[in-house]
Symmetry: D2
């Protein structure tokens, strides 16, 4: 699908054994690179409460090298990868690292707060100044201000949680602790892992798989988990509300091998394809999947209808930002470079293309064009999620409401725009039914406008 809705990734650890903290966080972040490509940062605690950090714009592999990782020596640390739409990813890289009365504090945030501007303004009135656009900076000020009134940092965090409206997961590091926080409705994910006496916090379980760390459990809605030299313990930062996990993590954001709330992501995507097949079957000769996103849903769709799934698109794996873009006459030649088509797979066939989601429809348009050029008889588009009609305020960087194609257009108009012979989407009920193993409910606000917070 169209690249547009990634969000941030978090990885933190407290190591009682060895000392490869920065390297392990590096690999943890790298395994979740799909959650954010704009910036990356790691902050470590040198055992003495002195924090050092490296953060910059770029991929994990661009921001860090062996020399930088070597310099980041410590037994505890937190890392962050940033998904950012603005022009200055570098200034907004996290973790935010501050000095205040109780020493150093580092904060990394995944998520969105609907009232961030109000909180920021309120703090400005109280004399605070801000150097970035990041909510994490605002939260660091809130916590530091609350700190003096509470015996522990976790109680200070609990005291400010009622102010934070939205969906978020957060890591906070202090001189003696690494702390994980999840919003009271569990909108954004956060999981706990363990290896002997070392403990880990991550946005996704796929990072644990890579490091051979055992997945222990999901952090609960409203929970504050505190890891120190004695291991983890928790307090309930806010009363847990019924869970409203972001369903988009299953549809698109997360790694297919990750598991949240008992539900494996790949399996959910496959199921979405199955339900889509039942809801919107197509009379086609072949099901085609879209690299890299739509494989699972296409398999479910194909298996359900008994239509053969074929490989038609080949992605050029060297495609990237440094490719010189075709312009002028070259642009008119329709040099796609990113995807090519294996003609024999589609020529003279009725094709159904299954993708995971649709935001602006431009990718779908290209797919249809490529298939028709390769000789497809007909092209039917099937999207394994519902139509996106509302903006997300909890951390997904979707376009403004006005720019969402389904804000003003119906499915028929969009189908016409893409050039497909038919277009259908999975229903909301189908999406939910595709995640039978997930405990609790979902946030599906971007599909139906039912926001879990005001």
């Amino acid at each position: 699908m169209e690249k547009m809705m990634d969000r941030c990734g978090l990885f933190g650890m407290f190591d009682n054994n060895g000392f490869h903290t920065s390297h392990l966080i590096y690999y943890g972040l790298f395994s979740m690179q799909h959650r954010g490509m704009e910036a990356a940062g790691i902050c470590v605690n040198d055992n003495q409460g002195n924090f050092s950090y490296v953060k910059d714009e770029g991929l994990v592999t661009e921001v860090f090298d062996e020399m930088k990782l070597e310099k980041l020596q410590g037994h505890a640390g937190i890392g962050h990868i940033l998904r950012y739409d603005g022009s200055d990813a570098r200034e907004n890289a996290q973790p935010i690292v501050i000095r205040y009365t109780s020493g150093h504090m580092a904060v990394a945030l995944n998520g969105g707060l609907t009232n961030i501007e109000e909180i920021r303004h309120d703090l400005e009135l109280k004399g605070s100044v801000f150097q970035t656009m990041e909510a994490a900076e605002v939260i660091s000020v809130l916590i530091s201000r609350a700190r003096n009134n509470y015996p522990t940092i976790e109680e200070a965090i609990a005291s400010i949680m009622p102010m934070l409206k939205g969906g978020y997961a957060m890591l906070v590091m202090t001189p003696r602790k690494v702390i994980g926080v999840r919003d009271p409705q569990g909108i954004r994910p956060l999981v706990l892992g363990r290896e002997d006496h070392s403990w880990f916090l991550s946005s996704e379980t796929c990072a644990f798989d890579e490091l051979n760390v055992d997945y222990v459990r999901d952090i609960q809605p409203g929970e504050i988990v505190v890891i120190n030299a004695e291991g983890p313990h928790s307090i309930q930062g806010m009363p847990a509300q019924p869970i409203r996990a972001c369903i988009y993590e299953y549809i698109y954001y997360s790694h297919p091998a990750s598991v949240f709330g008992g539900q494996e992501v790949y399996k959910a995507r496959y199921n979405m394809g199955c339900h889509l097949a039942k809801e919107a079957p197509a009379d086609a000769d072949a099901v085609v999947w879209v690299p890299d996103s739509g494989l699972a849903a296409a398999a479910g769709y194909a298996d359900t209808l008994g239509i053969p799934m074929v490989d038609a698109f080949v992605k050029n794996k060297y495609y990237g930002n440094n490719l010189v873009k075709p312009e002028g006459i070259l642009f008119d030649r329709k040099i796609h470079m990113k995807l090519s088509v294996i003609k024999s797979q589609v020529k003279d066939k009725n094709i159904v293309v299954v993708d995971d989601s649709m935001v602006r429809g431009t990718t779908a348009q290209t797919l249809v064009e490529l298939l028709r050029h390769a000789g497809a008889k007909s092209v039917h588009l099937r999207i394994a999620s519902a139509t996106i009609s509302h903006p997300c305020y909890y951390g997904a960087s979707m376009p403004e409401e006005k720019k969402l194609i389904f804000h003003e257009q119906g499915v028929d108009a969009v189908c016409k725009m893409t050039g497909a012979d038919s277009l259908a989407f999975l229903s909301s009920e189908g999406m939910v039914a595709a995640c039978p193993d997930a405990a609790g409910g979902f946030c599906m606000a971007c599909f139906n406008g039912d926001y879990p917070t005001k």
Copy 2:
């Protein structure tokens, strides 16, 4: 499969219309980046017979940027991407550009000559000196020396072809011509394309697809095709022998969408999977394919036996050379980073993994390990080509004979090394049968030692 046998790529053109020569060659090379990652080069002719070029080590997108392409102005040009094992790809980047009595000449070569050292030594005795290890440099000297004795450059090329023992395709650019040459047995591929009055030569048809250039035909064994302002014409450089096209182009080297000699590569790979299924069926619950190489063969295998094909491996698309490598204790943690496994797809199942080829067996070993760690009940390896037992002297950079695993070991020993429950290969007959559309015979020397030249 294990990365080890890429080979060079060629792209040339003579443009009677527009003037995007360097850009078009750039996109042509980029679409064949899989043929060589070590170096890239483009040389253009400015209409006046003055050649300018840029060549360096690195990917196409690393060697060139818009500014460099802009400087390479001309109506004709040739480009090259290099697969190189040595330490100094930069010094050996092609095209080789020389000045001699008849002005400039640029030479780019894909292939291997078994008697290159003898030719070089002979030329040294005649007073030539060499600055690279490239056969292309030797050939440029041969041609320039022959040039004075013949009225045309193509006749000079024809005169030296009998000296060249091996398999090769070659581009030669002179002040007024772009010339393509294919060895008399057609071991290495070369195809001709056209768009209006512009003509193109390429190693693969996939480059034509990208540029919306029409594929005209394969260059014939021993043919010298000369493109100038009047368009292409040919002479027979050497008598054509029965074709012996490299079967490895079908098995692994080429882009799946490419077509050689009438046979589409993807279809050949799929057929190899079908034949493999018949020759070596496995009693398994699921067929697993290996990114990125084994998809086609796995599909053929699964379809033939009616076993469901599942997605089990997920490749981290950000994996690359700049990843900090896990060392010491981190290495022992078996941090793979490149591939991860979707556990639900393989847990408690009997798995058959289909890959396209096996050179050293180390990749297979990792695959088996990953699947067993994810809970597979049994793991059967099926390779959709025969065992490689002989070195290639025609341009494939395979290990020396002694390092080929099947030089000393049998299939059983290798199976044990990989940790698989069973291991089987496709027969030579199966490989040939999988390419029914290909006109003529194949070079399968690396499988059976039957070399087309001495």
Copy 3:
């Protein structure tokens, strides 16, 4: 002399005419590069009160290029170059840019505050957090907190000036103003320039010379000059105290062509050489100067005594940080690389070397060694300033007290260490007498411990 005491540079402007703000600040900073090599930054105001900035570690020419300057569009702006000893110049680059209740504010500081830690701690108790080690960040918080209580920003600045103990010059930019502030004793310099309706603030007049801007006057001790669309006007931020200008600006920091308080720097240096000649004549055949610092003083010394001044040292102008350092056996070879000696100028002569100042004595040691190796009969060192015995708290990055060579050692011991035949320094009286045109007194605390503030 030994590189060690540079300090920061400031350049700001408010342009009512054209729009080359970022370029002009760039050239202004570049002309004062000698004041700080660690980092550089420019922040501009886009006419609408929106600030954009670029800052990073490195030289002015490394931090900025045409593209970055083009992006910094605005009619007003301030720039800063940083002299920094710590390990992370990048995090401490200025200007500090913040958002607070009244919009954006940018602050750039040259100088040192003796009570910065107390102020910071006090602000932390009030809920502020800090992300850098820079006093400029602390000051930005002070001003923003005071802002609500005063009708204008300049009054807010005036209200916090009594809290700032030390020597400083400062630029503050707000959505409608560019403001210059100088400490009440005028320890650090700040000058005002004009070109038609555009107004400029700079640490040194040499920047005005480069830009063909007219030098108007020095900002007065305690003065706050406010430049807006109507031009400049001033308020007295604090009552002016008797001026105590840093004499080290004349000795070493400033560009020789700069003028402060009516006194040209070059002339002051020349005079110091004259006074030194009278106080400590040497019976020598030739006066040798040290690139690049000691030319003026050596000329004064030579002229006063009638000894010929000769060129003996030649600096390798390509010498820089990226030179591979000689190590091991190569180090023992005494490969200096930076300076070479013209032997004929010193062989068999009695030489007097005049340098501007001495901090650790290591440079002097090298100079003596080079001259003796070249055949000098005797080598006399004359330093055109007094012995440094006290640390500077006002912005000069000198070593701690203990590391100053004259903290524990007398002149004789240092002379012995350098290997010179004799060593003498200019008296404090001589330094003052060398600046007859400067209005007011000097801070000479690093020479005599008489600090203007507590």
Copy 4:
């Protein structure tokens, strides 16, 4: 003076003791960086006759780093720095390294051959091809072709020397030798140095000074010095003709501390100033020198006439290629950035500016403009060499004849163009008289058209 006539530098060594060959060559080249800034290269012999090399465009410190030097292990080696006017310094970097019947050979050249095109053409007719524009490549082919006919490489070199018309110094490295060659008239310099059992060849003695290597002697005109494990021995490659050393080495090219033929460069320059003072005195209040070139001549001029020499120009030492250039309105502001003027030194004075040479007159124009702007009453230009009226064919990259300002204009016209009140040059006789210690005659062809070769 105007930068335009640098030329190449050579440094080679044969080490019987230690193994810092590449490092020592690196420092040797670095100390002669003024001879060429476009490219640098080092080739070493690993004791076994295998050559490895690194060469690229850029300064010595840009081309090499510790890692690259470490890889260049060997007991013997030669290095080169290139002065190049063309667009592709990289392709023309030296040494040229070739393989031929007798193994490896590396060649580095400083100088120019008037008949290089004829030789190249002749070799092309014999079947040679060329990949660069460098004469060194042509010479490597000549030597390799001659090699078979002579028992030793030095005899082969001697056999081709009569073919080489022009001025040159050359280093040749073979598997067992490092060889230095100087043209039969000694136009280009080459000197021999020693440290214990290690022997060195260099373009200038300043490199020996830096490395604490003892200067032994100049290589004689026509001499071939061969250094191998037994030390150096010589043969006379061609009969020595009367020496015609390039006088421009004394005027501008060489390091002031270097000595050729017994004459120190600094002293020669000082003497030129003295003679100039006698030939063309100026009634001035002060003599001003031009950084970095004119110091010595200005001192001689001032001393002779008893006029005080003052420092008026200050060069911005951070000035370089990466400075964003002032364009448009900024250009019209006359932002020089490179040089600034100390006004008090020139205001209301009659100034005489002494520079070493004048090629196009543009620098002089800028100097006059700067001085007048700073308030000089009058400005007299004195050039410590004669007017350049003929092109150099022996390695100096001067403009074509037509572009030399004195080709068509007289001194008066040029004086007017520069805006000076008067302009005078040193006579040819004065230049010669300024080098009394130099044995033999000079090539002064660029001044008088008397070329030593046809």
